[in-house]
């Protein structure tokens, strides 16, 4: 018996007195024990209060050219204890990988090692300026070079573009490089093929680079339909953007044929590396015929997601695309490592700069610490355990939830909403009920190729006991759904700082910032 069921059975509701059950959930304050209501900082400030003690400037004659800012800015005045308490309370309203299983498919919410945080904060990395003379930063260049070496070895591809700020930025880098390579061949192609199951960033990227997006349907096995793909491939296609393993959690088993077909058409094979965690150390993308792939350091290589960033999206490039890699380049020169910041020499054909400075150094340090900790043996184990955990959940759950595609999955397992048929409960309701049980939901309604998708990615950093418990909760929820306990699902979540939020109202009349109450309303109070 797992813990949750014991806790639930410790004191069944029917044993409790009627009076106790009648006690309303409301409290005087709106607080609920450890869940504290917290106003905005703008509603807590006082003029004249400050959370930082700074010296007075020595007397001087300002040289702002008469452009001094006039009047108050409107920022609240808070002391340090108020600020600490405010943000601590806010933090307590968040779910996080530190507090529990975070099974968001395609997001790879794995443990974030704290050694990596410590190392990224060393003054030798955090307190160096991107424009310092090269002679003062040899260690930084060595770290980037070492990271590049690991990424090249793991992908089997000969070049790495390090500057992209996140996965979508890496996609932009890849598709721009592909367009530059085609233009160098004197070709102007107009279409990029994107499977239906792709992340939204793929078509958005292709469109941003001036391409028409041509959607490729899947086959009944959840993979790209090779026959249809071949009919679409012609000399007008610049690239195929494929995620592998794909967003159904499946390895594209005809990938070598896909690559051959793409290359026969003179197009490039771009791979979205969001799901690299499934194969790292076991399969090299170069061996699959991939020309270009971005790596989300904030997924496979454990840099923290930080509530939505920062990320880092280095791009591995085949020799055919390497000349077009964005600036800066890090090259081995006669005097050691050298940053190439201009289109000259071998970098003459570089697509230019994609971002200020040299890339997400703070993420590079974390990712390298992660890779060195695991080693060649450990990263392979990562992929194996990630796949093992997902398949374990698959077999634990396939008789309760509806598995979209039979057979082994990779690092994530896709279910759809057939199991909720005629229950009056939707995927959204089911996910929200999971929140009440103390779990972050899986990815919902993505990929778009199945109805009411529930995409579960446990990652390798979950224990078997954690998976057993999670599977047990899901099974119990399915049983509740089948027994007609609709109210539980429609009302969920009930135990969170906020219940379901009105997203329609938020979009209809957007309130995107705090504003002070108008004077007349204040006077009425």
């Amino acid at each position: 018996m797992s813990d949750w069921s014991q806790a639930a059975s410790a004191r069944p509701a029917e044993d409790r007195g009627a009076d106790e059950l009648a006690v309303p959930l409301e409290t005087i304050t709106g607080n609920r024990g450890l869940q504290i209501e917290e106003k905005l900082i703008f509603e807590q400030g006082s003029r004249g209060r400050c959370g930082v003690d700074l010296a007075d400037p020595l007397p001087f004659r300002p040289r702002l050219g008469g452009l001094e800012r006039q009047g108050p800015i409107g920022l609240p005045g808070l002391s340090e204890p108020q600020v600490i308490r405010h943000f601590t309370r806010l933090s307590q309203k968040n779910y996080a990988i530190d507090s529990g299983l975070y099974p968001l498919g395609s997001c790879t919410m794995k443990h974030n090692p704290r050694l990596n945080e410590k190392l990224a904060r060393l003054p030798g990395f955090a307190d160096i300026h991107p424009l310092q003379p090269a002679s003062t930063i040899p260690g930084a260049l060595a770290l980037i070079d070492t990271l590049a070496h690991w990424l090249k070895t793991l992908t089997g591809l000969p070049a790495i573009a390090l500057s992209p700020g996140a996965g979508a930025h890496g996609e932009l880098c890849g598709i721009m490089s592909i367009r530059a390579a085609l233009e160098a061949r004197g070709e102007r192609r107009s279409r990029v093929l994107v499977p239906e199951s792709a992340h939204g960033t793929n078509p958005a990227t292709a469109a941003a680079c001036g391409y028409n997006v041509d959607s490729v349907p899947g086959n009944p096995q959840g993979r790209v339909d090779l026959g249809t793909l071949k009919t679409k491939l012609d000399t007008d296609v610049a690239a195929l953007m494929l995620t592998n393993p794909n967003t159904c959690g499946l390895f594209e088993n005809e990938i070598l044929e896909i690559a051959a077909a793409v290359h026969t058409a003179g197009a490039f094979f771009y791979c979205d590396g969001a799901n690299f965690n499934a194969i790292v150390g076991r399969v090299r993308p170069a061996d699959l015929g991939i020309d270009c792939m971005h790596l989300n350091l904030h997924k496979t290589f454990s840099t923290p997601h930080g509530g939505g960033g920062p990320g880092s999206g280095p791009v591995a490039l085949a020799a055919s695309l390497a000349p077009y890699a964005p600036l800066p380049w890090l090259v081995h020169g006669p005097d050691g490592l050298e940053l190439v910041e201009h289109k000259k020499g071998k970098a003459q054909q570089a697509i230019g700069r994609l971002k200020g400075f040299h890339g997400q150094m703070g993420m590079f340090v974390r990712a390298l610490a992660y890779m060195m900790s695991h080693g060649a043996d450990g990263v392979r184990q990562v992929a194996e355990d990630a796949v093992l955990n997902a398949n374990y959940l698959r077999v634990r759950l396939e008789s309760d939830l509806s598995l979209s595609f039979p057979g082994p999955c990779m690092h994530e397992v896709l279910f759809d909403d057939r199991f909720l048929k005629e229950t009056g409960i939707t995927t959204l309701d089911f996910a929200k009920a999971l929140i009440d049980e103390g779990y972050h939901p899986m990815t919902m309604y993505f990929p778009l190729v199945v109805h009411g998708a529930l995409l579960i990615e446990p990652t390798e950093t979950e224990s078997k006991a954690s998976l057993d418990q999670f599977a047990g909760v899901l099974k119990a929820l399915v049983a509740k759904a089948r027994l007609g306990d609709e109210a539980r699902f429609h009302a969920a979540p009930r135990w969170t700082p906020r219940r379901r939020l009105d997203e329609t109202a938020a979009a209809r009349k957007p309130v995107l910032r705090w504003n002070p109450e108008p004077m007349d309303q204040q006077a009425e109070k």
């Binding site: 400050c50 933090s91 310092q132 939505g308 920062p310 972050h440 938020a506």
Partner: protein
């Protein structure tokens, strides 16, 4: 391996439950020709001690800004970060959470993003701000593309005072996204007549304030020139702290502001991660790139926050999205929000004055050195000097003496001999009187 909870016994039991003999069976879809039988050619796993030793060794080979007299700016500034900032952003509930797509369990992130957006709007004096972009340079390119969409024109004029990396990022986007740029030549301290360059086919004019050479200008007239012909004014700010001292872009008539927010709460980090700030007029919000947090109510009528106007974004709109951006700079935005919450109006203003005071004091000392000329009329915490010899060599010489003196502009413009003698120098609240003594002494020596 310390990060992997499964034991060999677990693995065995799980494989049995799955009904396969070995892990290889789960990789059966991988074509045999592409399977790696052995390990890749990389070192084996290392313990925490060994990893720390190896990576600390690399860090130790760099000259940390805090260990020397330090005067480099150019879009990344060394400021003091209160201890509370790093403590709070390392709380696991912030650090290890995902994008707040499930608002009921992400109210912490959503509320600070709402506070962040408000702070950015107040600082820039704009109506709305988004929840961040990668950095100032990409925010600048996004601003130009947004102006192109809003005006249905495709030609932007870039000031020569725009940070060269920002200009280069715009050039890359222009080539592949398909729009035109007219970039003016850099002219340290000089005036450009941007008003003359604005026409009926101009989508926007992009200026930076203070500009790359530190000069502060009033762009109110330029804003009027732009609006007269239906063009927009984009104002770039690479030193966000300057907004504590000088007239904000919104009061000069800016339509879009793209800025770098690193100065507040975020370390130099060798240039990344940094923090793209993005603000605009209210009526343009549906063409904004990136995420937006918005206020709403929950099922019980209580105030709460959600990500909103998502129909602009790639995960809903796919190829019709306003931008392909997904992951942004969430945690850097949190650091910014906390630092600015600590400062408030009073602290920000004082910090800005400390910076300006340091820069004025330093500029007035350095311009007394024979052959050195200060080119700025008005500046905040960064200014430009003309030296009597090539600045790059001088900077190298001073670095050898343990002083990081500033940025030789030739690093960005190697083919412009007229900029060879130009040095951009920054002074923040971190600079001490002794640091200034050292710089003045070493510069005198190097130029003698």
């Amino acid at each position: 391996m310390r990060y992997l909870p499964l034991t060999d016994r677990d693995r065995g039991e799980m494989l049995e439950a799955i009904g396969v003999d070995s892990i290889d069976a789960l990789f059966a879809d991988v074509p045999p020709a592409a399977r790696l039988d052995g390990l890749v050619d990389l070192p084996r796993a290392m313990g925490e001690i060994e990893v720390e030793r190896a990576i600390s060794g690399m860090a130790a080979r760099n000259v940390a800004a805090g260990s020397v007299p330090f005067f480099i700016g150019g879009g990344a500034y060394r400021h003091h970060i209160p201890a509370a900032v790093d403590h709070l952003i390392q709380r696991g509930e912030f650090l290890t959470s995902y994008t707040p797509y499930q608002p009921e369990v992400s109210q912490g992130t959503l509320q600070y993003l709402f506070e962040f957006q408000t702070q950015v709007a107040l600082l820039t004096a704009m109506a709305v701000a988004n929840a961040s972009l990668y950095d100032g340079a990409t925010a600048c390119a996004e601003a130009v593309m947004m102006a192109n969409r809003l005006t249905r024109r495709r030609k932007a004029v870039l000031s020569g005072g725009l940070h060269p990396h920002y200009r280069e990022v715009c050039e890359t986007y222009a080539r592949f996204v398909g729009f035109e740029l007219a970039a003016l030549d850099p002219a340290p301290g000089g005036a450009e007549d941007l008003g003359k360059r604005v026409g009926r086919d101009t989508s926007c004019v992009v200026v930076q304030n203070p500009d790359f050479f530190g000069e502060i200008r009033d762009y109110s007239d330029l804003a009027r020139n732009c609006h007269d012909v239906g063009a927009l004014l984009v104002v770039v700010v690479t030193e966000v702290l300057s907004l504590g001292a000088i007239i904000p872009p919104g009061e000069m008539g800016a339509d879009i502001v793209a800025a770098e927010g690193q100065s507040l709460g975020n370390a130099l980090n060798f240039g990344g991660p940094h923090l793209g700030l993005f603000a605009s007029r209210d009526k343009f919000v549906r063409q904004m790139p990136g995420r937006l947090a918005g206020q709403t109510v929950d099922a019980d009528g209580r105030r709460g926050w959600v990500l909103t106007l998502s129909t602009r974004e790639q995960h809903i709109r796919r190829e019709k999205a306003t931008s392909n951006i997904c992951t942004n700079s969430g945690l850097c935005a949190l650091a910014f929000t906390i630092h600015l919450a600590l400062l408030g109006d009073a602290g920000l203003t004082r910090l800005a004055h400390l910076n300006h005071a340091a820069a004025v004091a330093l500029a007035e000392r350095l311009e007394c050195i024979r052959g050195v000329r200060l080119v700025n009329r008005a500046f905040f915490n960064e200014f430009t000097l003309r030296l009597p010899r090539p600045a790059a060599a001088v900077v190298e010489t001073l670095a050898e003496e343990g002083v990081l003196a500033g940025i030789p502009v030739s690093r960005f413009y190697p083919n412009r001999p007229e900029l060879e003698d130009v040095l951009v120098v920054a002074a923040t609240e971190m600079v001490t009187a002794e640091d200034m003594d050292r710089l003045e002494m070493e510069l005198r020596e190097a130029l003698s």
